[in-house]
């Protein structure tokens, strides 16, 4: 799985810490999400997408 969270976060000029606070997770969780090393729950994925003003399809890219 690849994500575009880092790209969208940069567009919104959000730090990892700020995004983590917005969705109620630790900074490490955002780091591993950005690196595609953690598969989030639907609830967390939705929270991140909403915080970044993007859809799930735009943020998370799966290798078919």
């Amino acid at each position: 799985m690849k994500t575009r969270i880092r790209e969208y976060r940069a567009r919104h000029r959000l730090t990892q810490e700020k995004l983590a606070d917005m969705v109620g997770v630790r900074r490490e969780t955002i780091i591993y999400l950005e690196q595609g090393k953690y598969s989030p729950s639907l609830r967390l994925a939705h929270g991140v997408a909403r915080a970044l003003g993007a859809s799930l399809d735009e943020l998370f890219l799966f290798d078919d």
């Binding site: 997770v25 630790r26 490490e28 780091i31 591993y32 989030p40 729950s41 967390l44």
Partner: protein
């Protein structure tokens, strides 16, 4: 979250005072250390940031896995110490010393597991993760082989009327060697994973 943290703290304090009143000092100390180990995240965050850390789904999942490992270890060590073979190791020790050692080591297993899932595993490559599983499996197999070899050596020596050599060598040399290799390999990979380059910072 704060209520849970306070609840655990007060419960641990009451049980510790009870244990001190019963003169079970080793168990009391191990309980205090175990509680500190189990709540290290909260304590660390309170000291460094003066607030409790968020409990997100990764924390919950990692805590569950670490608790599972601690419970499996505690169950395994309890079962082992109930075996005639296991009792040899505690024959000259007091009950409270054995209990304290069990609680402390369980706390350590929990802590190492948590650190592994939370900090080391995400930074390790697939190759290293596979090698780590291999070393852990080697450790488990070595312990199993040791117990079975001791049992078979005693049975064959007892019924045969001679000192059985093959299982003796396996139990005394090969199994401990396998366990040593497993421990060194696991710890090495664990430390390499932990010390790996920190995750990417801010853009």
């Amino acid at each position: 979250m704060k209520k849970v943290a306070w609840g655990i703290f007060i419960a641990a304090l009451v049980i510790t005072l009870l244990l001190i009143a019963l003169e079970q000092y080793y168990v009391a100390v191990s309980l205090v250390v175990g509680t500190v180990v189990m709540r290290h995240r909260e304590l660390w965050s309170l000291i460094m940031r003066r607030r409790l850390p968020p409990v997100d789904e990764r924390v919950k999942a990692n805590t569950s896995k670490a608790l599972r490992n601690g419970f499996v270890y505690l169950a395994g060590i309890t079962a082992f110490l109930m075996l005639p073979l296991g009792r040899i190791f505690i024959i000259n020790l007091t009950t409270q010393f054995v209990l304290a050692a069990m609680f402390l080591s369980t706390g350590l297993i929990y802590l190492l597991s948590y650190i592994y899932y939370d900090r080391a595993a995400p930074k390790m490559s697939q190759w290293r993760l596979e090698r780590l599983r291999w070393f852990l499996a080697l450790g488990g197999i070595s312990i199993g082989v040791f117990i079975i070899s001791v049992f078979l050596h005693n049975v064959i020596s007892g019924f045969g009327g001679f000192e059985e050599p093959v299982f003796f060598v396996i139990a005394v040399i090969l199994a401990p060697l396998g366990l040593a290799v497993s421990l060194v390999g696991t710890l090495t990979l664990f430390i390499i994973g932990l010390a790996a380059r920190p995750p990417a910072g801010e853009p």
